[in-house]
Amino acid sequence: MFRLDIAQRKNWQRKAQEFGFKFHTIHGEPYWDETAYYQFSLQQIEQDLEDPTEEIQQMCLHLVDIVANSEYWLEQFNIPQQYWSQIQESWQQRQPSLYSRLDFAYHGKGPAKLYENNADTPTSLYESGFWQWLWLEEQVNLGKLPKQADQFNSLQEKLVRRLRVIANYYQVNHMHLACCQDTDEDRGTVQYLQDCATEAGIDNAFTYIEDIGLSDCGHFSDIQNNKIQTLFKLYPWEFMQREEFGDAIEGAKVNWIEPIWKSILSNKALMPLLWKTFKGHPNLLPAYFEQDLALAKETKLVKKPLFSREGANISIIEQGKTIVQGEGPYGEEGYIYQSFYPLPQFRQNHTLIGSWLVGDQAAGISIREDTSAITQDSSRFLPHICL
């Protein structure tokens, strides 16, 4: 695993505009960064990232089965009681999931360590599945990268296929896709999934989460009063379950993407439960529930809220003292503790690897760099190759 400098493509900003990639630069700061790339060997990709990703997914599914059927665990995961039976039903039917992103700390050798599972609303999908793919294609054509350079990135191909599988499962050929207002990044992610749905031959329509309506018969509707039958929502289950329309979810009979059983996997309580169940697994970091903190022998711990996103509210605790305090709006729902394990550094940059799952299959990686030890949403996205 190397970090190598490379010349930027001369016209990439114009190309980004042409393809509708609007958030490559955010408030004047680069987000897409092609001044360098990471290079992996095939062995690093397959043995250290691809295989563990699929194995961890199976471990996670094993835990979904335990949690969905246990009132004790559903409570520990802070899932409101009114959704328990919906979660159980959706899991019993094995309603198909679309995608997840596992975040790893990986140093190029030794086991990659799982930081967390973004199982419900992962982003950076477009820049991973399409934009870095195009970068490789063009750099190879320009002769800047060798012809045999490959990339661990079959995201787009797999997303198209998976959406078809989901449409067939629900016997539909139309879906709505939704995200919140005023965010180019989320809108871009959803647009990408619309493109994939189109490629899969599925009719699709966009709606903002805030525009969703409730009809007199209990169905959800879009702004044009079309009934919402199938909905991809880039909006966390744990929010929906605590909002006004939460009560209407059961009666609305929507085919949800992601299905509601994924509220178990997107929850940070998953991390200590993984450790409890698969203690000592090479890809896991020791993790503890608040009430089990006495069991922790580590002197340095990371404290994460059950529902946090993008590094919000994450603190680092050493010998019982908080040494780094991340700000944010989360935490009232409780915390978990994870053994501190540093990200590798490449020239002052802390590097985090996101490893994608489409269904249960590993589908590629994305790389984020940050100057801070906790990856924030300010981190940059860099492409990679496999050689």
């Binding site: 139309h174 180019d184 989320d186 702004i223 044009q224 919000a312 590629g364 949403d377 496999c386």
Partner: protein, 205 residues
């Protein structure tokens, strides 16, 4: 050997990844975009610029031409691209190509319907119709193209005939009456006091 071990997507249809509307509409129509390639039973459809155009080509179906035109106009109002300002709409569709529309879902600026797509004109089960738009703006990738309400590009606007999937004409089920909106999204508002320091403000992870 290389090709069987490829770790990346084999190919991506780049032209399908290029983005249409340069100015983002508030709302878009249902995307009914199946072309012959993916629809199970592709069919031939014609595009007419107005009732006369349709009647000239199908004098024996003059009445259907007129009715389909009215249906398409209504559908255009329901599903066509909608903008907050005349400026945004004209940026995409060209000067004087937009109208002010006010109905029960709100007030918007929308492009005029430039034509309508018709198929099965002579079928006893009834014809299929779809409103079509085009752009006169030099800023728009849709300049001189036939486009559907959802932004789907049906090709050069001089084109009169296209092969489309059956889904192209399928209308979506609507609900009887929406009694309330805005029941999702409040967590975002509650947490957005923190959003000012967050660069992107997205709620994905």
């Amino acid at each position: 050997m290389q090709s069987t071990k490829l770790k990346r997507s084999r190919s991506i249809n780049l032209s399908a990844m290029r983005k249409g509307f340069s100015a983002k509409p508030l709302a878009l129509g249902i995307a009914a975009i199946c072309l012959a390639a993916c629809g199970k039973e592709p069919e031939q459809a014609a595009i007419y610029t107005d009732v006369d155009d349709c009647q000239n080509s199908n004098p024996e179906f003059a009445e259907q031409c007129r009715l389909a035109y009215e249906d398409a106009i209504a559908e255009a109002q329901r599903t066509g691209p909608k903008y907050n300002s005349a400026r945004d709409c004209e940026y995409e569709f060209g000067p004087n190509q937009c109208q002010y529309v006010s109905n029960q879902s709100g007030s918007f600026f929308m492009p005029f319907m430039a034509g309508y797509m018709l198929s099965n004109l002579m079928s006893p089960r009834g014809y299929n119709y779809r409103p079509m738009f085009t752009s006169y703006s030099r800023y728009s990738p849709y300049r001189n193209r036939w486009i559907g309400a959802d932004g789907y590009d049906f090709g050069d606007y001089r084109r009169k005939s296209v092969r489309v999937g059956k889904n192209t004409f399928k209308s979506q089920p609507t609900v009887n009456k929406t009694i309330k909106r805005g029941g999702f999204g409040s967590s975002v508002r509650a947490k957005s006091s923190w959003g000012s320091s967050s660069k992107k403000g997205g709620w994905g992870g």
